[in-house]
């Protein structure tokens, strides 16, 4: 007499786990990740066209617009006061967060400064609360 277990063994294929849907879903996930990964690691800053920086010294202590002039690879002028890029965050904080109002930043950059440094300055400005960034024309 056949036992139940023997019968099960004879009907082998019916007892296997059906892996097709699992493979289906995992392949689709792989494709989604492949397609989405280049997008996930890229971002962008919105920039406006700005008027050339004012030549006159900034009169007000806390002006409405903060002016940044990148004059060298590690030299930035914040409203006319020179600081190193590393100290920029400290110099910008009191200006940008003065009364809880978001302020715009106008950035001008010397011709020979690398794009990497320029973006680093924009990044620091954004992280310290710049609302809008305008790139000044020459």
């Amino acid at each position: 007499m056949k036992t139940r277990r023997d019968q099960g063994a004879a009907e082998g294929p019916l007892c296997e786990i059906n892996t097709t849907p699992l493979i289906d879903v995992s392949l689709v996930l792989v494709v989604i990740l492949m397609v989405a990964s280049p997008l996930a690691f890229e971002s962008s800053f919105g920039v406006r066209k700005g008027a050339p920086l004012a030549q006159a010294a900034v009169v007000d202590d806390v002006p409405d617009r903060v002016e940044l002039a990148i004059t060298g690879e590690n030299r930035v002028e914040v409203n006319g006061r020179a600081v190193a890029v590393d100290q920029l965050a400290g110099a910008l904080q009191p200006l940008l967060a003065a009364d809880g109002r978001k302020r715009d930043v106008a950035v001008s950059c010397a011709d020979l400064v690398s794009h990497g440094v320029f973006v680093r300055v924009l990044d620091i400005a954004k992280l310290n609360g710049a609302a809008d960034i305008a790139v000044a024309e020459k």
């Binding site: 019968q7 009907e11 294929p13 019916l14 097709t20 849907p21 289906d24 392949l27 689709v28 494709v31 989604i32 397609v35 989405a36 280049p38 997008l39 996930a40 690691f41 890229e42 971002s43 962008s44 800053f45 919105g46 920039v47 406006r48 066209k49 990148i70 950059c109 010397a110 011709d111 020979l112 400064v113 690398s114 794009h115 990497g116 320029f118 973006v119 680093r120 924009l122 990044d123 954004k126 992280l127 790139v135 024309e137 020459k138």
Partner: protein, 141 residues
């Protein structure tokens, strides 16, 4: 005593349902992502940044490599003078508020080169401009 009947033989047809499933899902993925993927494959070392702006999924990309090669979306552009007319052609029919052009410039380029590219993009009718960055995901010290 009744004999147990042998189970019926499986139908000899291949089950096409999963294939159609996967194929349809792939088609949908490609349809949705195709407009986002119009990006040149030229090698560009984007400058890294922590901050990220609010993003729109659809934009027109303008790529400039370290050695000055240019591309609009995924098509090569001969020179800087060609950028504005090509961009104007590309932007035709797109409403002003959706005209986002992202400049993907190599970190080693000089700012003068990038500014010329930004100017060319504006001349070509870009209303919103973006500067592409590589997302830095580590925690700030």
């Amino acid at each position: 005593m009744k004999h147990r009947q042998t189970p019926p033989a499986p139908p000899a047809r291949i089950n096409v349902t999963p294939i159609i499933d996967v194929a349809l899902v792939l088609v949908i993925i490609l349809l949705v992502t195709a407009p986002m993927m119009s990006m040149s494959q030229l090698p560009v070392d984007l400058p890294g940044a922590h901050a990220r702006d609010t993003e729109r999924p659809q934009f027109i990309s303008l790529t400039m490599t370290a050695d000055g090669q240019l591309a609009l979306d995924d098509k090569a552009v001969g020179g800087l003078g060609e950028v504005a007319p090509r961009l104007r052609e590309r932007l035709a029919g797109i409403p002003d508020k959706d005209r986002l052009v992202v400049v993907r410039a190599d970190a080693s380029l000089t700012h003068a080169a990038v500014r010329r590219l930004l100017d060319a993009a504006r001349e070509g009718g870009a209303v919103n401009l973006g500067i592409a960055t590589a997302q830095i995901t580590d925690v700030k010290p």
